[in-house]
Symmetry: C2
Subunit: 255 residues, 2 copies
DNA sequence: GGACATTCGCTTGTGTACAATGACCTGGTC
DNA sequence: GACCAGGTCATTGTACACAAGCGAATGTCC
């Protein structure tokens, strides 16, 4: 199921991305990526003990990672009842998209001013990777890279608070897409990303912002957030019920 | 010194604001308030054991509260070296103000659309309390209420992600003011707050936004964020030394 | 006399045991 | 037959004990 989530034991701290190698961050990053890649569906119960066993660490570490994810809004922490992958309501989705539109606009303007040649090259590389992933049929990686593109762009804007806010918004957006996407089309077309980089590189703020806003339009036009999505909404609201039923049908084997 | 920070022991969970009564939140709220009231200076070391003793809880609780504060940017968590109250650099302050301007504008527009009569009444009450505090000479409470006004306004905008981002920005702004304010003037004049409520109540978005932007201008015009603030910056950088010296002169009595 | 290395002590990082709370199941009654 | 009450169980909440890391002080060597 989740072949990415291998027990990590006490790695010699050589792997992973260098200094981010505290067990804490590893667990956080794995769960975060799993959500971005939509391998963890909204509503999924995240048991501390189970995760601890999977990652080979104690509940302490898991708890910290979950707490962090909870603070970013991608995980819902219910006191005394454990953590589940958040399942945003339509109203919450609207709020997130509103905030995201605002942030993306600011980020785009700042990126036009501050993005370095090196950062632009990195962005192009990411778009390239994204295209490859979709071409390869690896939809999960494509979605993750698409999200990371927007994160990287936020970094190019050189505004730390915006980056952390954007991180929260992008991951929540990924959850929303997981719940509400109507078609099977890729939700973030890489050619739009490329056009955006072109405008930024040309230091054309007006065009860059226009492209970004259109990009946002395209993203939520692919979702069923409109008023007629009641049925879909119901389905989303009760997704945790479905999840629970799946779980209980398997739990008979454990005890 | 901090008479607010009484040991809370195992309260029958009756006190405090109802369901937010987990020890976790109490500790968090107390430290948060202390920072907003500027009773905790930037750079102050936040020892887990000391705080645990003060609040009468174990380090586990303290650690969680600090982690949360760290995620909001008001506390700096240095791995293996403990937590200190963050002391934003001039550059960080600029980034925070940029983000805040953006958020306040969005919040103002949304508040004009969504603020209920009840919320407007609450806001007026807060401004009134704020005025009283300053009149009473309680500068700390005044500053806190001033910050809470902006938080309440964010709630009136009915956008959860913006509220949590605003929370982070407001508390960091408080830190910046603590470090960089030039005069002893109140940093947030309540008459501007009142005028803002008037415009919102009249559902005049354009005027409300204009007032809010001027309000932001006034706030950072009172700060020494201009390039000539090097000396002030130095003072801020070494504020933790002063704090440490104060603390060690008192520590002989405790143990 | 100064600079470097080693050791000591304090603080934080992590794991684990116990307590408490909520969910589920079973039994009884209306 | 359905609903309510009680008990049991699993899961989370908290505290504590041990391990590890960093900083500071001291001693030695140059």
């Amino acid at each position: 199921m989740n072949d990415q989530l291998q027990p990590l034991k006490k790695q010699p701290r050589a792997g992973k991305s260098a200094r981010s190698g505290t067990q804490d961050d590893i667990v956080y990053a794995h769960i975060f990526d799993a959500i971005l890649e939509q391998r963890l569906a909204p509503g999924t119960k995240l048991s501390e003990e189970a995760l601890g066993e999977i990652f080979g660490v104690s509940r302490t570490i898991i708890r910290r990672a979950l707490s962090r994810l909870g603070h970013e809004g991608v995980v819902l922490l219910r006191p005394n009842r454990g953590a589940v992958v958040a399942s945003p309501s339509v109203e919450e989705a609207r709020q997130i998209f509103y905030a995201r539109r605002m942030v993306e606009q600011a980020i785009t303007e700042l990126a036009v001013q501050h993005a370095s040649a090196e950062q632009l090259a990195e962005l192009r590389q990411m778009v390239s990777d994204e295209r490859d992933s979709f071409a390869r049929g690896d939809r999960g990686a494509g979605i993750r890279l698409s999200g990371e593109f927007h994160l990287k762009l936020a970094e190019a804007a050189r505004n730390a608070p915006l980056v952390s806010f954007q991180r929260s918004l992008v991951s929540q957006t990924s959850l929303i897409i997981a719940q509400y996407e109507s078609g099977s089309r890729s939700h973030c077309s890489y050619d739009e990303h490329n056009a955006l980089i072109d405008a930024i590189e040309a230091r054309n703020a007006e065009q860059a912002v226009t492209l970004m806003m259109h990009h946002m339009d395209h993203i939520d036009s692919k979702l069923n957030l409109d008023e007629d999505s009641a049925s879909d909404d119901l389905h989303a609201v009760f997704s945790h019920v479905l999840q629970t039923r799946k779980k209980s049908s398997r739990s008979s084997t454990s005890r």
